[in-house]
Symmetry: C2
Subunit: 346 residues, 2 copies
Amino acid sequence: MVTIYDIAKKANVSAMTVSRVINKSDKISVKTREKVEAIIKELNYLPNSSARSLVSKKTKILSLMITDIANPFFTSVARGAEDKAMQMGYQLMLCNSDENLEKESKYIDMLISAGTDGVLIAPANDSSKKNIQTLTKYNIPFVLLDRHIKDLKCDQVLSDNETTTRRLLEHLIKQGHKRIAIINGPLDVATARERHQAYCDTLTAHGLEINSNLIHQSHFLQDSDISKIIKKMLDLPENERPTAIFATSNFIGVDTVKFLIKYNMKVPEDIAVVCYDGLPNYTESELFITAAEQPSYHFGYMGMQMLIERIENTAPEMPRKIVLPAEIHIRKSSLHEIDKNNEAPR
Amino acid sequence: MVTIYDIAKKANVSAMTVSRVINKSDKISVKTREKVEAIIKELNYLPNSSARSLVSKKTKILSLMITDIANPFFTSVARGAEDKAMQMGYQLMLCNSDENLEKESKYIDMLISAGTDGVLIAPANDSSKKNIQTLTKYNIPFVLLDRHIKDLKCDQVLSDNETTTRRLLEHLIKQGHKRIAIINGPLDVATARERHQAYCDTLTAHGLEINSNLIHQSHFLQDSDISKIIKKMLDLPENERPTAIFATSNFIGVDTVKFLIKYNMKVPEDIAVVCYDGLPNYTESELFITAAEQPSYHFGYMGMQMLIERIENTAPEMPRKIVLPAEIHIRKSSLHEIDKNNEAPR
DNA sequence: CTGTTAGCGCGTTCAC
DNA sequence: GTGAACGCGCTAACAG
């Protein structure tokens, strides 16, 4: 391994001078700088980050903690985060918590041990607060991604859950739907809770009843057990069955449609579906599900930007909150005027 | 920051004893071990990886270099790689080269500087050899992923390009197709080259002519300019037009179908399509494109496993080569007996 | 402008 | 079983 001493010896200068050249100190004569730089190139010298970090307490490593890289939302977040990190001269450490607190905790410990400069984190759920406070104990800056945590003062980049949910539901209401179900993630996750609240508020505001038979929780991972939930709702008497379903995540939305069809329901004729968050259009066909498309790349990109600004002390003292709007794309899964006569009296 | 000295002082032992406890040395009395362990827990001590690395020359950081995390193939690879790394107590550094040699080179330098213990790498192209040799110069183990590089002795986990290509084409040939086009990635990428070779070999073996008007190269990123290529082929006289197209990657396949439809061609009636590598089925509908589905998760998982075995010296001296088979899924895009009379004489 | 000294936190080496 | 001294590669602080 080549060290600054090897360079120093060959250049007839001290190690300190080499260090100064590497760190672009300006108090170096042009002649020695050029001499040293030439030898650095010749010997293919690359600084040892461990040694540097030991002194500087900085690693130039940032971390991204997400709950599932297989979810296209987070894939795109990762892409954005990585682009920004790279651009600013940082490396990115990737961590998948699988919505699991213990895994998250283990990762946090590893990240602290590795000396990460900062963490962009989508917490598994509200109890992640404890894991995040471990970061605080070590003075490691972090930015909350997608999922808010109560009473945690920090930078965050979030989705506009209230507005987006309301707009999706009002689209359904405008189509004549009165019995709208929600299939949600666990309520100890902020996004699920906020979407739940907005769901209740919007129905109430439009004079619609909130029926607990139409409110269901699953989870956000890919194999969420939607089948049972659908079955349960289809078993309701016809005049209590939902005529529309609000799915609060991409995977939930896809599975909802899948199982509706499996149980011989027509979408949107029998039951309409709208979905919070979209999926990439890989297929040749038109997209089918009405979805609130999120700017996922920017979640990662802007989250990283805030994190780096925080680390490099170019950010204002005050915590910043970025709320990214979603774009509602109305598609076939919700485009069907329901038959008003079919509506049973309440 | 808590150090072993803080622990030592509180436990009335030397730092060395603490170090031995942490590293699970057996030459420690049970009593002191327990005392030290209690204080470690109490003080939330986490070892400083930089200091450790400086001494041990190991970081417990592995790296994954891929060309695009937005490509579902690599997303899944990343998932597999991360799972294995985590399981074995390593952290994963993620790098996107964007099929770009310079970006790849810059990343390699960063990784060396960061002291990565090993790299699982899908090289951008044949010229990546130089970047990879930099790793060798620093004695950093690596495993080639997906893309072979000539005369590079190393562990590799690859796709069975020859067999898979042949089976896809023979399926088309069996359907009666005689003019089969190929839309490929750049030929300085091993997978593209091998699929090209297998394409030529298979056609020849079946007595079909190899027509340069039906051989096209684009690239593997998402916005590959397939439109022009399709247009060019549709501009051929009817009796020279392809009746089927072999797309050598998932994104190419999707775009091929998309633009065929855009130019008013019916798939598969006018032109059939088969594709090397699949895409996740997010939609409610049946998948459409006939595809060779690759076990992408295992590319990552097994690649990491080989890498770790190499690092921990539990691997045989000899380089290992794992070839993972793809599963051919025949779907609608290629299920149409072509009209034999429509075949022009040659 | 350049060099010397000391120390970052830990593990290796060699004593006891 | 335990401890003291040294050095990993680098940079901050000071000296010249």
